[in-house]
């Protein structure tokens, strides 16, 4: 069993014997995947399973892209970018048999929010526990929480059907598009008249309007609104944020909808498990292999050239890079129609978040939260209203990081002891908002440090011993996210999740089916439907389209 040895190889480092070190000068494959992010690996897995000779090329010395575990300080494992798991499609989890390749997702029970007045709100995966907690703030809101949850799960159920499907082109008269549109229409029609109106409205409304329909307590609304802005350059009062909230609700862990969990060993375990699965199916992963050019001849892709000049040949190339990087950096504009290039250029990909990863020499205290509250093992937030979040967004708009940021902080080492030495802890702090560029110009190291201290101070206000416990801290602004992982403008979703960039509009109208104007060239990253988050759906969908073009059956997935 080749996989067992790999499980022990914690962190996203693959044991060398499995990566081919020696290459002839020119290699030929059936398919080349550019970028070993989780989507690239998913695509590669499905192609390898279908019997193709596949190689994944990764520029960094480690795999995973933004789904990564790294030891940046001795003894501590950092989920350096993405940090929790829920959206990953269970269908992919099952068909690729990822548990067998070492992936274990540990659900956590809830989250807790600290408010300015010294209070807290704990929320739980368990509906009734949550309802009881809400009734501490408002009896009426507790009643309405039933209605709200019902509406959210209805919307989740509806959208889930379309996550692993290719969006049909509404302008096309091709049989396949018409058929897919018709089946989409039929699923929609099944909702019934009232629900159809509500579903369409849901996609165009703001999170604030949605929550105002159910809740009166500012705290409850602030707590729920947190998920409507993650990774998004919008505030909860902006139309379109109800959808972003849904995007963060539609996940599940072990069949519990809306639940979130930790990947044991950090998020890199997902990438490692995928790489193990890929290798088990005969595929290869090469790190330190940065692609410089996609080679196109006569409107057809025929391979890639690496930075060191080496060329690899394949009739199929799929890029896990974002749409801008793929078509504007590693491809030659002359190989693409001018109108297409213009559309790629205006794709909106502004980053809005930053990240702090902190090694702690002990568990910091949060006096506001009861000592034994299970919710402190999940996400911890600091907010008390939608307004407070919206004001943080105003800072983003004026080209500065939020002075009173919205933070999503977790200490996963409470549940997963592999992340830190005994008694010590690993803390992950997701920060909203940080603009891709500052009003004063590009980010500098001094700006980054100031951003870091803003966040540390914000947390320190709720945890007296927090600052003293910091042993090591890594700060990531959009600038670092771009430089380190190659996410253009530091956008964690490889493109903003607004209505103009969803479904058949993602990334470019007319090219939303994972193909590009160049034959044999595909996109398989989060720039494509259904977008970002560690979901794997774009990768699986791209693989299905590739196999379809190669004349394989749909059912291969």
């Amino acid at each position: 069993m080749p996989a067992r040895g790999l499980i022990r190889a914690r962190v996203a480092e693959i044991s060398p014997p499995l990566i081919r070190q020696q290459f002839p000068l020119m290699l030929s494959y059936d398919a080349i995947i550019i970028g070993a992010g989780h989507n690239g690996l998913v695509t590669a897995c499905y192609l390898a399973r279908a019997g193709l000779r596949v190689v994944v090329l990764e520029g960094n010395p480690y795999i995973g892209g933004a789904t990564v575990s790294r030891e940046l300080y001795p003894g501590f494992t950092y989920s350096n970018c993405s940090y929790v798991c829920s959206l990953f499609r269970p269908e992919i989890f099952r068909t690729l048999d990822l548990p067998r390749y070492g992936l274990q997702v540990i659900p956590y029970e809830g989250s807790v929010t600290m408010t300015r007045d010294g209070g807290y709100f704990a929320s739980f995966v368990d509906h009734d526990a949550n309802r009881r907690e809400i009734s501490r703030f408002s009896k009426r809101d507790a009643e309405n929480y039933d209605r709200f949850s019902h509406e959210m799960s209805r919307q989740c159920r509806f959208i889930k059907k379309f996550l692993l499907t290719t969006p049909p082109d509404p302008t096309s008269f091709k049989w396949r598009d018409l058929k897919d549109l018709a089946s989409l229409g039929a699923a929609f029609y099944d909702l019934g008249e009232t629900q159809m109106y509500d579903t369409i409205r849901f996609y165009t409304m703001s999170c604030a309007d949605l929550l105002d329909q159910y809740f009166e307590s500012d705290v409850i609304k602030g707590v729920i609104a947190g998920s409507s802005i993650i990774g998004t350059a919008l505030g909860p009062y902006s139309p379109g944020t109800a959808y972003v909230m849904l995007h963060h609700y539609m996940g599940e862990v072990d069949g519990t909808i809306g639940a979130w969990g930790y990947a044991r060993g950090g998020m890199g375990s997902i990438a490692t498990a995928l790489a193990n699965a890929l290798q088990a199916h005969g595929g290869e992963v090469r790190v330190n292999a940065e692609v410089n050019d996609v080679i196109v001849k006569d409107g057809r892709v025929c391979g890639v050239a690496l930075k060191d000049g080496e060329e690899l040949h394949a009739a199929t190339v799929a890029s896990n890079l974002d749409v801008k990087r793929t078509f504007l950096n590693i491809m030659d504009e002359r190989d693409l129609p001018a109108e297409f290039v213009r559309r790629v250029q205006r794709f909106k990909i502004r980053g809005s978040s930053g990240k702090l990863n902190i090694a702690l020499d002990g568990m910091p205290s949060f006096p506001q939260i009861p000592e034994n509250c299970p919710a402190r093992r999940g996400d911890m937030h600091i907010t008390d209203s939608m307004e407070r979040i919206e004001r943080a967004y105003d800072d983003w708009k004026s080209g500065t990081w939020s002075k009173d940021p919205y933070v999503d902080m977790l200490i996963p080492s409470q549940i997963d002891p592999t992340l830190a030495p005994p008694g010590q802890h690993m803390m992950s702090v997701f920060v909203q908002y940080a603009p891709p560029r500052l009003a004063s110009g590009d980010w500098t190291d001094a700006d980054r440090d100031a951003f870091g201290s803003t966040v540390v101070d914000a947390i320190g206000a709720y945890s007296p011993d927090f600052k003293d416990r910091i042993r090591h801290m890594e700060v990531r602004t959009p600038r670092e996210l771009e430089a380190e992982i190659g996410l253009t403008e530091g956008n964690i979703f490889q493109g903003e999740l607004t209505l103009d960039q969803l479904m058949f509009n993602r990334p470019v109208p007319g090219y939303a089916q994972y193909r590009s104007p160049v034959e044999g060239m595909y996109l398989c990253g989060s720039s494509t439907h259904p977008g970002g988050g560690v979901m794997g759906a774009p990768g699986a969908n791209a693989a299905r389209e590739i196999l379809r073009d190669l004349g394989r059956k749909d059912g291969q997935l």
Binding site: R201, T498, P509
Partner: protein, 522 residues
């Protein structure tokens, strides 16, 4: 005691009520229109605010009014005269020369950046094509999402009209419909003055800023005025916007509508889920088979009818309609014409816009979210007395300005801050017309809360409730009530709270009349 029985009673004599009553009377219905104020017009009225000075108190320009309604109701024969048509829109600027645009591209003036005029024309040509799709929807009663032939046909027609734009245009429309205006303008244009003014047009009358998604839609709503079937220009009726309603009123009376002013409807009566008539303030009950309300949805359904006649879920939906207005009106009586820097006399006749760039508009919009007023507001200025001498004594002028953003509820309370806000607005005006403050004889500020009180519009909202992509067509004012007919038999809405929304268009009134007549037929 019930005296006369009418086929239909129209509650409220705003422009939509008048239009609706007129079409019903033309279909040989016996129609009574009841207006609470002493004159008809509602929010489309011309009123005196200082001795000798009159002003269009709410809407101060007409650009969306449907020309086919003007023609069908023969408004010209009933005294409607335009004192100005095709008024230019002028982007004021402190740093650079002003820029002026007009419905006729050749009339656009000012210093254009190289190539900008061409880009602007291309953008407007495309947006106009999109607006005509919208215009087409606007002239019809919205369909419902159900399995009836008429509805399915209407939906397929709507889809086909979009498809008929051609593949490129269709793709573009489906992409930008939910987009924000700031990104669209940044993609297509370069000139800050121009982008600022267009962004202003997109957010006027809403609570959104230009970076909020769905503002391309609100811009398209305004651009319906440019659709081929529309007048095309920004116009001003002689005698102010109230003159339009006077003409509508005369036309309605000629068609046989009985109009009673000073008759405030207190409640809409209903019996066994069927409307029976209305009760007016003096206690008189007037019977009718149908009651059509020009009041806003919340007032009609929750105040006049009463929640107990309605389904709980429906009441909840009506309560959820955002009704807080965001625009204030400032009226100045001035004893001499102020000098707006860089604006020539011809341009001064038009609408002058203070929205120097997109960020300025966005910053102004921040305030409304927190119940504050914008200290640096965006402003649309008109000096109608330049082309309409009926509004001011000879040699003197009125200045009418729409000021955004002013919240319905100021967190600090409007009481002490009302004058402070007016001073603030005048200070901003003075940045562009330094001699203005010395020429002011009298001033009047109408906040959303004043508009609510004077015209009975809940929240003082222009559109009788927020207009946006999530609240238009089948969703306006709320699903289940978007076809003008309310859940109580015989009760209809005909105001701006319904499809297609506000902006002195008249289409809600005509569409409502069609819906009423459709149910009257066996």
């Amino acid at each position: 005691m019930k005296s006369v029985r009418y086929d239909a009673i129209v509650v409220g004599g705003g422009h939509n009520g008048l239009v609706c009553a007129n079409y019903l009377a033309r279909a040989r219905q016996r129609v009574l229109l009841l207006e609470a104020a002493d004159q008809v017009g509602g929010a489309a009225a011309t009123e005196s605010f200082a001795p000798g000075f009159r002003v269009s108190s709410c809407a101060h320009l007409v650009y969306l009014f449907d020309p086919s309604i003007s023609a069908e109701l023969k408004l010209a024969d009933h005294g409607l005269v335009w004192s100005a048509v095709d008024l230019p829109s002028v982007a004021l600027s402190q740093e650079r020369a002003v820029l002026s645009i007009s419905s006729d591209p050749t009339l656009s003036a000012g210093e254009w950046m190289s190539g900008e005029h061409k880009r602007f024309d291309a953008l407007m040509a495309r947006m106009t094509r999109f607006a005509s799709v919208l215009q087409n929807l606007y002239t019809r009663v919205p369909p419902r999402l159900r399995n009836r032939r008429g509805d399915i046909v209407a939906l397929v027609q709507a889809a086909w009209r979009i498809r008929r734009l051609g593949r490129d245009d269709m793709r573009e429309l489906l992409r930008i419909a939910g987009m924000n205006i700031a990104d669209l303008l940044d993609d297509e244009l370069n000139d800050d003055r121009l982008k600022g003014m267009l962004a202003f047009d997109a957010v006027l009358g809403t609570r959104l800023g230009p970076r909020a998604p769905n503002t391309v839609f609100t811009w398209l709503h305004r651009l319906v005025s440019r659709a081929p079937a529309a007048h095309g220009g920004i116009m001003h009726p002689l005698g102010g916007v109230g003159a339009l309603c006077d003409a509508l009123s005369r036309s309605a009376q000629a068609a046989g509508v009985e109009i009673r002013t000073g008759a405030r409807v207190e409640s809409i009566m209903c019996d066994a889920d069927r409307v029976t008539g209305v009760r007016v303030a003096d206690g008189e009950e007037i019977g009718a088979r149908q009651v059509i309300s020009n009041a806003d949805p919340q007032q009609t359904l929750l105040s006049l009818l009463g929640a107990r006649e309605l389904d709980t879920e429906f009441v909840r939906r009506v309560r959820d309609v955002p009704m807080a207005g965001t625009a204030a009106k400032l009226h100045l009586a001035i004893d001499d014409l102020p000098t707006f820097v860089g604006v020539d006399p011809e341009q001064a006749r038009g609408r002058l816009v203070i929205a120097p760039n997109i960020d300025y508009v966005e910053r102004a919009s921040n305030a409304i979210k927190y119940g504050e007023y914008a200290p640096q507001p965006v402003i649309e200025i008109t000096i109608p007395s330049l082309h309409d001498s009926t509004l001011a004594p000879p040699g003197k002028h009125v200045l009418s300005a729409i000021v955004q953003y002013a919240p319905y509820t100021l967190r600090a309370g409007w009481g002490a801050h009302r004058d402070e806000f007016a001073d603030c607005v005048i200070a901003v005006l003075a940045e562009y017309a330094p001699d203005l403050p010395d020429k002011i004889v009298e001033r009047q500020l109408l906040l959303p809360v004043d508009i609510e009180q004077r015209y009975g519009m809940t929240g003082g909202h222009w559109h009788h409730g927020e207009l946006g992509l999530e609240r238009f067509w089948m969703w306006r004012p709320t699903p289940g009530a978007a076809q003008y007919q309310m859940p109580v038999e015989g009760l209809f809405l005909c105001g701006a709270g319904c499809h297609p929304g506000g902006g002195v268009m008249g289409l809600a009134g005509r569409n409502a009349a069609r819906a009423v007549l459709a149910t009257a037929r066996p």
